[in-house]
Symmetry: C2
Subunit: 232 residues, 2 copies
Amino acid sequence: MAESIYLKKENKISEINSAEQCLLALSDQEKEEVLKSSVEVDFQKGETIIKKGFVASSIIYLKQGLAKLDIEIDGKPATVGLIPEKSFVGIICTFANRNLNFSSVALEKSRVVLIDIQVLEKLIRQNGDFAFLLIKHMSWLTNQIVHHITRYSHKNIDGSLSILLLDFAAVYKSDIFTLPVKRKEMANIIGYSKESVINTLSKFKRDGLIEMAGREVKILNREMMQHISDLG
Amino acid sequence: MAESIYLKKENKISEINSAEQCLLALSDQEKEEVLKSSVEVDFQKGETIIKKGFVASSIIYLKQGLAKLDIEIDGKPATVGLIPEKSFVGIICTFANRNLNFSSVALEKSRVVLIDIQVLEKLIRQNGDFAFLLIKHMSWLTNQIVHHITRYSHKNIDGSLSILLLDFAAVYKSDIFTLPVKRKEMANIIGYSKESVINTLSKFKRDGLIEMAGREVKILNREMMQHISDLG
DNA sequence: CCTAAACGATGTAATTTTGCATCTTTTTTG
DNA sequence: CAAAAAAGATGCAAAATTACATCGTTTAGG
């Protein structure tokens, strides 16, 4: 009996790592409200989903596809991270600023749901369970992002690039994939120069870690790659 | 008339950059509840406020002093940022994980308020205005942190170190201050080696940017410093 | 109060990363 | 379809960063 209470408590603070879980707290009527105020939009690979400076009138949910989140550091673009499907795009920032200070570009053909921010605000105010789940989710997300950015930035280029390649493999759920970004964009993600990315990819190829032709990548030695990302 | 509505709307999404603003949404009774469930604790400079791996039973509010927030990257410590007084310590992560995955150390004599997480959870559920303000605040905070970390990591050491020194000056609201951290810790914050920090500080001294003796720092040329942090 | 340990400074060598020049390949566009 | 533009490779020199060794100074603990 005591144990069941303990488990219940445990569950209360457990991770909310999927955006969809938040919606479970909504009543049928509330779900309907969200649906009604939402619009689905498709983006081609390379299209801009949100642009820095625009007014935040929607929360953006990436239903299908892949996107990246960019910010500007003293005028130069820096990529904060990849947004996998079934997650919010920049939700961590959207509530704070009326004018968005980040951009997002589709890296694959993507389908996006625009949810009216006013409706979401109303639901947060009226449905406490939803609000709490959202807070937990945002908390989890921030945690992920902070760890991720910091991990990239405290590594040498071999380590950073290994992490990035493994990240892509995770997104595509396969060790064979097509890079959705150019070398320069990879450089922006990990914070190194374009040339360093190119050179290191060549080195990985020479060392038999990967096979590569253009943007086609095959990870040959996942263990070694993991090892490099840990130690680098 | 139309304009006043516009202003009202504008205000709804305006920034919540102070933790205290969140509490304004609480009723007197709710405030009382928070107070009752809270404990104030003092920490000496260098003392650990929270330790990675511990169970999150409280949200930590830094009432007075200065702290830093650390995470671990593949076993090595990395500092995510400085926590100025009158802000939450790690609130962005605390809701997500039962077991904390960050640590915090007091950099100055500090006074901390521990707020029971269950009470806060209850208030989020029952008070929609509070929940929304908290979401906005967390959103703003995450935004700050992400920009800040990324800014450090996309700069050369001159740039990073200038940012850090200006950060300290902002914390102490003066261009003359005593560094609350050792060189190695500064290195952990900006993601460079201890030696690089030491060498660059010496260079700044030689170049007449700063005066320095031990941990006493005086910024002599703030404009140039700003310039270096922008361009580096 | 003294000793050992940690911190900080400096110089140098080794390593890493960048920037440039050049060339090939791929993509875009008229 | 061809020309132009952008992306990707490669090698090399320059610049930035780290790592190591050493030494003076400060701090912490017995």
